[in-house]
């Protein structure tokens, strides 16, 4: 009897959690399918009478009534994809090397370096936004996917290195030592032993990097001007004019813009949990 009560309570809690997580997002979806008139009606009707697919049609299919921002969406998505992918690759590549060092070798110099890398993470990036802007401007590499990638890498490397170091710390050194006795070079042990064993943790770091880079807004806004490099968050912000905000279009664009990171996170959460499991105990 107690067991049944317990199960009921459990499922109730799960339902509450689901509602809390999904309700605002559901509202966003509903908004994107409504017309503005319905959205500003009082009392609010939760399900729109007419499903309005205009927004989705404009963005996904283009067409002559689409606003420029809608037509630009596809290019913006491509830019976001490129930026997020490169940032992830470079941070994982360079970061895993550094994390390996910090994990496997103790020295004062390395400790200090690690600490200073973490320290650079603590400075509010806003304050260096203009100096970075000046650099990019003088080098004529504003409005460029490459510069955005570099800037994001420098912002995110500290935490990527920190995470990966934690995961590497979990792998016992004996395995590498055994392999080295068998003639493996150190780098080979990294490649063939440590990384495969910490794959879940690495996967979770990679997903983290991808999502964070995809979603970044303010620096993308500053450093991109044209479609050559504009990312999706910036485009989503453009569905408005001097006085008004086109909420229906913005929510449509927002949902579409959020699909890739949501998929990455939701579908690959298995790896995230696994990864955090492997590395989480020590903290």
């Amino acid at each position: 009897m107690k067991k049944i009560l317990y199960r009921i309570l459990l499922y109730f809690m799960v339902a509450v959690i689901l509602i809390w997580i999904l309700a605002p997002y559901a509202w966003l979806v509903i908004s994107s399918l409504s017309t503005k008139a319905e959205l500003i009606s009082v009392p609010l009707r939760w399900i729109p009478k007419k499903i309005n697919l205009e927004g989705y049609k404009q963005i996904l299919l283009g067409g002559k009534f689409a606003t420029r921002a809608a037509r630009d969406f596809k290019k913006g998505a491509l830019n976001s994809l490129l930026v997020a992918t490169f940032v992830t690759l470079i941070c994982m590549g360079a970061g895993s090397l550094a994390a390996f060092s910090f994990s496997r070798f103790r020295s004062k110099l390395l400790n200090m370096t690690f600490l200073s890398i973490l320290l650079s993470y603590m400075l509010p990036p806003i304050s260096i936004a203009i100096p970075i802007y000046i650099i990019l401007s003088r080098l004529h590499i504003l409005d460029n996917i490459g510069s955005l990638v570099f800037v994001y890498c420098s912002f995110n490397l500290p935490i990527a290195v920190w995470f990966m170091k934690e995961f590497f710390d979990e792998i016992p050194v004996d395995l590498e030592e055994a392999a080295q006795i068998d003639g493996c070079s150190k780098l080979k042990t990294l490649w063939k032993i440590v990384m495969p064993l910490s794959t879940p943790g690495l996967a979770s770091t990679a997903i983290f990097l991808f999502v964070v880079s995809w979603n970044e807004f303010f620096f993308a806004l500053l450093y991109t001007t044209t479609l050559a490099s504009k990312t999706l968050p910036v485009l989503v912000g453009e569905f408005s004019s001097k006085i008004a905000v086109d909420y229906v279009m913005m929510s449509t664009a927002g949902i579409l813009a959020g699909i890739p990171p949501v998929i990455m996170a939701v579908v690959f959460q298995k790896y995230i949990v696994q990864g955090l499991t492997a590395g989480a105990v020590k903290g």
């Binding site: 199960r7 459990l10 499922y11 959690i17 689901l18 997580i21 999904l22 997002y25 966003l28 908004s31 959205l39 500003i40 009082v42 009392p43 609010l44 939760w46 390996f100 390395l110 370096t113 320290l119 603590m122 400075l123 509010p124 990036p125 806003i126 304050s127 260096i128 203009i130 100096p131 570099f150 890498c153 420098s154 935490i159 290195v161 999502v211 979603n215 970044e216 807004f217 303010f218 968050p233 989503v236 905000v245 929510s251 927002g254 813009a257 959020g258 990171p261 949501v262 996170a265 959460q269 298995k270 995230i272 949990v273 990864g275 955090l276 499991t277 989480a280 105990v281 020590k282 903290g283």
Partner: protein, 301 residues
């Protein structure tokens, strides 16, 4: 091995490991070294970007002015409230939800996946969404509460500075809790079930099991999560930029936004840089204190 060989083996080992960190160092330095050094240097001047020619060296004046400035301390106070409020609630909620998600039930994998959704949404989208939800005339919050007869008439949520701050915190909590859930859940999963079984044998009830088995084992993880989330909370910008822009009055001007105003809007670049460095120093001091305590705790365990 002879000593010389051992030593040179050590040296080449050291060289090897040092060289591995070079890519990271280069990337970070390349982008950050000039801005960091430049803005630190500039913080000792009184540069305002549209009268660049009039900038002159003023030493510590900016730092002293900041310490005397009421708006700065008010903003720091708000930020402290914001950071502590959101992080503590996120961790408590994260723990509670993680405990539920740690149980077995149908559809557990799906739910665990969906739980990440608020965090995966772009910050812009989050901002626009919450702004509309809190809208005084058409917002979903008003509609919901009045249709449930919890309130009589539509409220103007974002009118009062303190209420607005709390509502922004609520939005931030919704966005950031998934990370806490994931980390704590992962940590919960590493606790061997034998420990629980042993506790059962000793006749422990669920509450004691939590208090004496679970809690101690996840404390280090929770502590680390606390630090990371605190750092992220201080950096929070997108929500404020999209929803309230620091208002009403100065109610939601937390320190990151305050720096944006000074550096970007007023173009008082030196002053803004000085604030940033002061904040960094404070954050570092707090983090060091915290880390020390945590390290000492885990050493004890």
């Amino acid at each position: 091995m002879r000593f010389i060989d051992k030593f040179s083996a050590y040296k080449s080992k050291r060289l090897f490991y040092y060289s591995l960190i070079i890519p990271v160092i280069i990337i970070i330095l390349l982008v950050l070294i000039y801005p960091l050094v430049h803005s630190f240097y500039i913080s000792f001047f009184n540069l305002t970007l549209y009268k660049a020619a009039e900038a002159k060296f003023v030493g510590l004046k900016n730092y002293i002015d900041i310490m005397k400035s009421a708006s700065f301390w008010e903003s720091m106070g708000r930020t402290a409230y914001f950071v502590l409020g959101t992080v503590i609630v996120e961790i408590i909620l994260g723990l509670a939800i993680a405990l539920v998600l740690n149980q077995k039930f149908i559809g557990r994998t799906v739910v665990r996946g969906l739980v990440l959704l608020p965090w995966a949404l772009p910050g812009v989208v989050n901002g626009v969404m919450w702004k509309w939800i809190y809208n005084a005339n058409y917002g979903a919050l008003n509609a919901l509460l009045s249709q449930l007869h919890i309130i009589n008439s539509y409220q103007i949520w974002l009118k009062d500075p303190f209420v607005a701050l709390n509502l922004i915190m609520a939005a931030n909590i919704w966005k950031e809790t998934p990370v806490a859930i994931m980390i704590i859940l992962a940590s919960l999963q590493t606790i061997p079930s034998e420990l629980y079984e042993a506790a059962d044998i000793d006749g422990a009830n669920p509450f004691s099991k939590f208090r004496w088995v679970t809690l101690p084992l996840i404390t280090p993880v929770v502590a680390t999560t606390f630090i990371i989330k605190a750092i992220w909370a201080v950096k929070e910008f997108d929500l404020i930029y999209m929803i309230t822009r620091g208002g009403p009055q100065e109610g939601t001007t937390i320190i990151n936004f305050f720096i944006y105003l000074q550096s970007f809007k007023f173009l008082k670049f030196s002053y803004g840089s000085a604030i940033a460095y002061m904040v960094t120093i404070l954050v570092i001091v707090l983090a060091v204190v915290f880390v020390r305590r945590t390290v000492m705790q885990s050493v004890r365990e």
